[in-house]
């Protein structure tokens, strides 16, 4: 949905209806105590070309698996609700929100994170362009922005500024580096150095 439509809808549903109506917790009903979580099992995750076998409970998100179990903390947790895009990674080359993906569902797939973008010391052209264009401030959304931006070029969705703006609107930057993010994407596009495989 375009951003203006989101804005419009949000304005029209005011005042907000509470959807989370649990304000007085009642005594627990009679039910068997469910105190253990689902037990963990070994999951083979292929991330940035290497395969790791980790013990994961099925409820572990891909994002938490990366951050807490594989110590790949480049992908960020901004909301854990699928609303900010900070956790954007590629699964089999497609952009996904790692906070909304269960790690177990990524077995047998190829996951790429920001840590896998540079070729050794050599930054990906998009990473270089982000630095040159000052396309970030705090840097917390940046991994997600760059993973989206590179995919965008690959997908051919960056022909105009309006298209870039629209397609990048799933990645919130609260520092609001948006004009510079667009400039970085344009720069890489115009230099023809785009896509996933630029350094692969």
């Amino acid at each position: 949905m375009p951003a203006w439509a989101v804005q419009l809808i949000a304005h029209h549903v005011r005042p907000k209806i509470m959807h989370n109506d649990q304000f007085v917790a009642t005594a627990p009903p009679d039910r068997p105590p469910l105190t253990s979580g689902p037990s963990s099992l070994p999951v083979a995750l292929t991330v940035n070309g290497s395969t790791h076998v980790v013990d994961l409970e099925p409820r572990v998100s891909l994002l938490d698996a990366l951050r807490e179990h594989l110590d790949l903390t480049g992908s960020k947790k901004g909301c854990d609700q699928g609303t900010c895009g900070a956790c954007t990674v590629w699964v089999d080359g497609r952009r996904v929100l790692a906070c909304l993906s269960l790690a177990v569902t990524c077995e047998g797939r190829s996951v790429t994170t920001i840590e896998g973008l540079a070729a050794g010391e050599e930054l990906h052209p998009m990473q270089r362009a982000f630095i040159e264009c000052d396309a970030f401030q705090c840097g917390y959304c940046t991994a997600g922005q760059i993973m989206s931006a590179v995919a965008l070029l690959e997908e051919g969705n960056a022909t105009t500024d309006a298209e870039i703006a629209e397609s990048m609107s799933g990645n919130i930057c609260r520092c609001a580096a948006y004009p510079n993010i667009r400039a970085a994407i344009r720069e890489v596009r115009d230099a023809g150095e785009g896509g996933h495989r630029a350094t692969a």
């Binding site: 304000f23 979580g37 409820r59 960020k76 609700q81 900070a86 705090c138 840097g139 917390y140």
Partner: protein, 743 residues
């Protein structure tokens, strides 16, 4: 003197940030880490009647559950802005000391488990039964009990400001504008949610904290726990944005420390996005009224500016809204007042452009109305009324407002604008343009700031100050300041921050960071340079022996006589001969006294063009221009980014951002980024930023007035004035709802 200061160099932390190597607080790895989850109150007022932790305790991996029944008693918190350099809890109330519930979202239990998922799951098993009391969470509910505040900001500022005889002057004014505005609450929503990791070692506490002020975290936790400061160390390398939400030290920081002590292992406490709406303050719901009296030729004769807002049960907190309206324009009769309603929210807090982002919206919207009423160009009305001195008759430390207005008008193409509303169309869109003046106070109530510089005999240097990088570019700008101070190339200097064991500076808030930290860094770097110059002139073996130090300069690590650049030697040669493996100097800066006889504002000008679809009330900002006079600009690249970010915050403030309490439950309507809308890429037009350069010899040694807030101030008014120009409708509520804009 300088070459690095003022150059648009790339961020020194850029490579770390674009590769994912930069570690933020929740990404610090410690052995035997445990994870904490907060159980938050679901009622807005009352008490915890029963808290049943039985099932949660039995859950797998749970190590501890803390409630008001077992949390140790803490010292009483006293609210004080962190810039002041004392303990800075965000509110004078610490949860879980008793069974009382003052606001929804207040922590009532803390679960610690051996994994993130297990902690979250066990938290969901804690059964809390509340005795609910009636709550007040909106201004409307508490309006009858509104009272006039005496002081604001933890007592730092008076709540009332008055000069002349407002009532008489208003009654006699030839023209009057009297307008009232309403504002929904705002939330910072930095993309990194707050997080704290705490670990104890032999009675000493180390905290990794997502904060705008490591020193404030240290002072606050030490005070609440009754510990000596030397036993509390706070480390923060990267922070994922603050915008005020990390300017004060909120309860979760101390809770993490308590939990870690309790379980004897490191505890990582990350707040969820939902919890961030009730854990780190917000900009309060408020109403403002501004009456202006003027002569027919557009001279202001009287102003009366009132703010009514809702605060917590325990603090008289309101963002001061009259710091600009009382000073920007010459007006002999002025009254500013703040009234409060006590309600069941946490204590509100600084939110970008604290106070003035809203106060200036009101002022600059009223000025637009006055210009319209009088048939005077809005820009000329500002120029005509701009004060030459502040409210106490003191000259500005530096000004630049008129230059900003004129230069902005030129960049924007303001001249020749047809002022008649609804006079421009583009297909179905109505087009309008608007402008506003901008100003933001320069705060000087920080204590002495300190830094340290060390030079090695190989000519490389490390300069340190205990600040933290949350996107301002401080690491980059301070590297530039240090390089110039030492006379070294940029590449030879590393600026280190992020640890309270380093020399202390205050929290980076209120746009004060760049000015105060650069002052300390400059002092340390130049002290070290002077020390080595003194060594050289005293050294019989130095080519500079006997020279007057005043005639000596250092460039690119080479000490020379200014008049005879051929005569000299490098730092390295001097140090090796003198058997100095390294050399070190501290530096400090104490701000001018609070009664410094100068007006202290940073000025700017904002211009916006909007397109409005009058059928559906849709407003799109098409282009924005901002020109600012922030004194010396240490790094125009990062400063520009911060100003663009601020301007887009202004766009969000005008068009998107607002949260409302549901009075039935006393809880926020929006608790996610899907419901609380912030600008996304497609909302952001191209933004032009430019500077008016000026020298300020009052505020600090380098004359830096700061860029953190001024970018946002005035934008909402420029957009609102443009919406009026496009549609003929004055929207008196932010964010501007579609139904208020549409025909």
């Amino acid at each position: 003197m300088s070459s690095a200061i003022g150059s648009p160099i790339d961020r020194v932390d850029g490579p770390q940030k674009v590769t994912g190597a930069a570690r933020y607080t929740a990404e610090i790895v410690l052995p035997h880490m445990t994870y904490a989850a907060v159980v938050a109150a679901t009622v807005a007022s009352g008490r915890v009647a029963v808290i049943d932790t039985g099932r949660a305790r039995g859950a797998e991996g749970v190590l501890a559950i803390l409630t008001h029944e077992d949390l140790p008693k803490l010292a009483e918190p006293h609210l004080l802005p962190s810039l002041a350099g004392a303990a800075a809890p965000g509110q004078s109330f610490f949860p879980m000391q008793k069974d009382v519930v003052h606001y929804a979202g207040q922590p009532v239990a803390l679960v610690v488990a051996d994994s993130h998922e297990r902690a979250q799951y066990a938290a969901s098993l804690v059964e809390v039964t509340y005795e609910r009391a009636p709550s007040i969470t909106t201004i409307d509910e508490g309006r009858d009990a509104a009272y006039e505040a005496e002081r604001l900001f933890g007592g730092l500022l008076p709540a009332r400001d008055e000069r002349g005889d407002v009532d008489t002057a208003m009654a006699e004014a030839e023209v009057r504008v009297d307008v009232a505005y309403r504002f929904a609450a705002n939330h910072h929503n930095a993309i990194e949610p707050a997080a704290t990791t705490a670990v104890w070692d032999d009675g000493r506490l180390t905290i990794y904290d997502s904060t705008q002020g490591i020193r404030a975290s240290q002072l606050t936790v030490a005070q609440l726990l009754g510990m000596p400061l030397s036993d509390v160390r706070v480390i923060t390398h990267f922070v994922g944005g603050g915008f005020g939400s990390k300017a004060m030290v909120w309860p979760h920081v101390t809770l993490a420390a308590l939990a870690a002590r309790h379980v004897g292992r490191p505890v990582k406490l990350s707040l969820t996005r939902q919890q961030m709406f009730t854990s780190a303050g917000h900009r309060e719901e408020q109403e403002q009224q501004l009456a202006i009296g003027a002569t027919r030729d557009g001279r202001l004769t009287a102003m009366h500016h009132e703010k009514l807002s809702i605060t917590s049960p325990f603090d008289d907190w309101a963002e001061p809204a009259t710091g600009v309206s009382s000073q920007l324009y010459a007006c002999p009769n002025y009254r500013g007042e703040h009234r409060l309603v006590r309600g069941n929210t946490m204590t509100p807090t600084f939110t970008r452009g604290p106070g003035e982002a809203v106060g200036v919206f009101v002022l600059e919207t009223a000025m637009d109305e006055l210009a319209h009423e009088l048939g005077i160009d809005p820009l000329e009305l500002r120029v005509r009324n701009h004060a030459a001195v502040d409210g106490h008759g003191n000259p500005w430390s530096s000004d630049g407002l008129e230059e900003c207005l004129r230069h902005g008008a030129e960049l924007f193409g303001w001249a020749g604008r047809n002022p008649v509303p609804r006079s421009r169309r583009d297909g179905d869109w109505l087009i309008g343009t608007g402008m506003a003046a901008a100003a933001y106070p320069v705060p000087l109530f920080m204590p002495t700031q300190r830094a340290r510089a060390r030079l090695y005999a190989d000519g490389s240097a490390v300069v340190q100050a205990g600040t933290q990088e949350f996107g301002t570019g401080v690491l980059t700008a301070m590297t530039q300041v240090a390089a110039d101070g030492l006379g070294l190339p940029l590449g030879s200097v590393r600026f280190e921050a992020g640890d309270t064991d380093l020399p202390n500076v205050s929290s980076a808030v209120g746009s004060a960071g760049a000015g105060m930290i650069s002052a300390a860094v400059h002092a340390a770097a130049t002290a070290l340079r002077d020390q080595l110059v003194a060594t050289a002139v005293a050294d019989a073996d130095s080519p500079l022996h006997g020279a007057d130090p005043a005639t000596i300069e250092v460039r690119e690590g080479r000490i020379t006589q200014r008049e005879y650049p051929g005569v000299g030697e490098t730092y390295g040669e001097l140090m090796q001969r003198n058997r100095l493996a390294d050399a070190e100097a501290p530096g400090s800066w104490t701000p001018p006294p609070l009664d410094t006889p100068h007006g202290l504002l940073t000025f700017g000008a904002q211009f916006a063009e909007v397109a409005v679809d009058p059928e559906i009330g849709l407003v799109r900002a098409r282009r924005m221009v901002g020109v600012f006079a922030p004194g010396r600009v240490l790094n125009p690249k990062t400063a520009r980014s911060q100003l663009v970010g601020g301007m887009l915050w202004g766009l969000g403030q005008a068009l998107l951002e607002g949260n409302r309490m549901d009075p039935r439950h006393g809880r926020w309507g929006a608790t996610s980024l899907g419901e609380y809308l912030v600008p996304v890429n497609a909302d952001a037009p191209e933004v032009t930023v430019d500077f008016v350069e000026l020298t300020d010899t009052v505020v600090n040694p380098l004359g830096v007035k700061g860029v953190g807030e001024i970018g946002q101030v005035g934008v909402a008014a420029a957009i609102g004035n443009a919406v009026f120009h496009a549609t003929g409708r004055r929207v008196r509520e932010l964010p501007m709802a579609a139904e208020l804009v549409m025909d």
